[in-house]
Symmetry: C2
């Protein structure tokens, strides 16, 4: 990695270094939302830079409430915008130095969902997570189902209820039937959980009937976000057979506001786990397709400061994004720009790296403590869950900021 120095003041451990420059949608006061790029503690207002004639782009593409139309222009253009901004933030005689009005402090801005999500798919691609769940709910000796090592198992999720970080989440109500009950009851979920995930945003559409190879998949991935797939375990357990998770998930999923481009993450590629048995040809891939992204989850309550409850890494994923995308289109299913595909819970091998409370408290049997000594097995009202993630190499950091959400009582 070439070393770059920006004339903008960037704190030492900022996720939003000159090497990152993620895209997001922000607004200030009552102004309409528009596109920006994060640098340090600031946001570069892209339409303002465009209006100065410093981007080879029509400002109208940034004066939108989502990035969909911008992303649809294609990587050749969107990457150029990112690199042009990078140059403007690095060069000595940058014309931006005379235009402080294009910089907005992040603390003065409100962030919005960066894309309108057409379809949302959730995978189940961590072998550690799938094994833990299989041990708890099925057979400890045969925790993984027969298809798991052959298929990047996934399901369709609910797109409408994806919200941006910072949005409060109502505790869902629903049908629950535990083994000791004769009939189900209707109640507020008592086993509310998070799932530590990453999601990618589709950057290039496909037609019905078209297949994308693992080799071409990266062309269809605009960038990544942190993703919390909130889950009501008691609702999920009673409803999910035989058609999969539904209301146990569809009340909300939270997304971090800054999309870190695949290009910014390029230096952090690593080899993924060995896949045994050998996968079918359409799932084979070459080179490094996992990403070394350090992840952590913090929980706080109205009485307790934040406690780190998990430290995991995106590199643990058994199935990588290229395989997920190739699998998703292998039947001819079409993709649209703005679709989101999430990884599934990212657990590692040891307990400290489990990506959900279901695993951390082992189905509610092993309570843990927050900093003030209060006990938890699942999430209580007014608890806040915050996920963070960053990649780092040779002192250069590319991070995601955070996705945070507080659980509030049911309406």
């Amino acid at each position: 990695m070439t070393t770059l120095n920006t004339w903008v003041s960037v704190p030492e451990y900022s996720d939003f270094s000159i090497y990152n420059l993620p895209f997001g949608i922000f607004s200030v006061n009552t102004e309409a939302p528009k596109g920006g790029i994060a640098i340090g503690e600031q946001i570069v207002d892209l339409s303002a830079v465009s209006d100065l004639g410093l981007l080879d782009m029509d400002a109208t593409f940034f004066n939108r409430s989502t990035l969909n139309e911008f992303i649809a222009l294609g990587k050749k253009i969107t990457n150029k915008v990112r690199l042009d901004i990078q140059k403007l933030l690095v060069i000595e005689n940058s014309p931006l130095k005379n235009h402080p009005e294009v910089f907005i402090l992040q603390k003065d801005a409100k962030m919005h969902l960066p894309v309108q999500v057409g379809d949302y798919t959730d995978f189940y691609s961590s072998i550690e997570h799938a094994t833990n769940v299989g041990k708890m709910f099925r057979d400890p000796e045969n925790a993984l189902l027969p298809n798991w090592r052959h298929i990047p198992v996934g399901y369709h999720g609910r797109a409408s209820s994806i919200v941006v970080s910072g949005t409060d989440i109502h505790r869902p109500m629903g049908q629950v039937k535990t083994n000791d009950m004769k009939v189900p009851v209707f109640k507020a979920s008592g086993n509310l959980d998070f799932e530590l995930e990453m999601g990618f945003v589709v950057g290039k559409s496909t037609e019905l009937g078209e297949r994308v190879s693992t080799k071409d998949a990266a062309e269809h991935i605009f960038g990544l976000v942190l993703f919390n797939d909130w889950s009501a375990r008691d609702i999920q357990k009673w409803e999910y057979v035989p058609l999969g998770p539904f209301l146990g998930k569809s009340f909300a999923s939270s997304m971090s506001p800054w999309i870190v481009t695949l290009e910014a993450l390029e230096p952090f590629k690593v080899q993924g786990p060995e896949q045994q048995p050998e996968v079918l040809s359409y799932l084979k891939y070459e080179g490094e397709n996992n990403y070394d992204i350090q992840l952590e989850v913090g929980m706080s309550s109205s009485t307790s400061e934040e406690t780190t409850v998990s430290k995991s890494n995106f590199k643990y994923m058994y199935w990588n994004m290229m395989q997920q995308l190739a699998h998703h289109t292998v039947n001819g299913c079409n993709l649209n720009v703005g679709d989101v595909m999430a990884s599934g819970t990212i657990s590692g091998k040891d307990e400290s790296s489990y990506g959900s409370l279901l695993e951390i408290s082992w189905g509610g049997k092993k309570p843990f403590e927050l900093k003030d000594g209060s006990k938890r097995t699942f999430i209580e009202d007014n608890d806040t869950v915050t996920m963070r993630g960053f990649a780092e190499k040779e002192g250069k950091r590319v991070g995601f900021g955070e996705v945070s959400g507080t659980i509030i009582p049911s309406k």
Copy 2:
């Protein structure tokens, strides 16, 4: 039902009688798609009627490629438009008589998907279908799973691949593993099926955290369409545990182009099947909430004329639409205008009313014949499946036209 006579020529058994007047999106030649209402063999061009000052509406709402923004105006307005058109087609001195340019022959128009579908949910609400599938795939003695009579079981489907009637469907490729195989293979689906369903289009949005009661649910349902949930049974069988159907369904679903409003279907309401055991309070309902809609499926091939392979009825549904919508929102999941919720396969008690080939050929064990004597268990390339549906009472008919699709070879 009051008898109405229109001065427009309507064939005797037309689905699009003066009592119906469904909404759709059509285009002529290279003109942009726009909104219309079907009457007999014609389409009333709504923006043209609006331009004549005969509707209390801005024509711009009809000059769109989808009905979403029109529907979002609310039933008070959309119903008024339908009733205003009805009046204009009935009264003796109708100003439309002098404006033949507002009428387009359906055979001269191309129909489009009537709404942009945000999220698509598929239910599983026919007890006969769920029982048949359970008998085949699980235990014949305990065919229904324990949750089935308590929950209108459903799952999230893929919205991007919903296409309008008449669109050819590529046979999906995918992973298949039958019981006699040691490892899965990648191939074109050999068990391609249809599912006879009806879908409803959401007409009123809800906020996150908001619940809709069965009593208020009708306010959120704009209207109904015929829906073919194409299914690749071999792909589905290998992939669906534990997270439900995914690529076995997401290659395509077909929708009829005309949305028949809930108001037009009002006279055809009937009592649904008794629900035992008693359902939880939030699923209880009053009055008649099923609809007597006669359904049939025809199959033809390049060598054979159409054969009727199923005759079913929407009134058989165990769970009605009001219960489906109340259940969908009970966890606070938000709805958007244009969302589609489909019923699941609509099977009746006897074999002639089964709504899928999986049931008709009993998992491929009982071949049936097309008119030219050729045998089928599942759908072959170049076969066409056409579904039709209508309600009729006192000689008054309100129908859906058809949803048709031809299977073409994989790309």
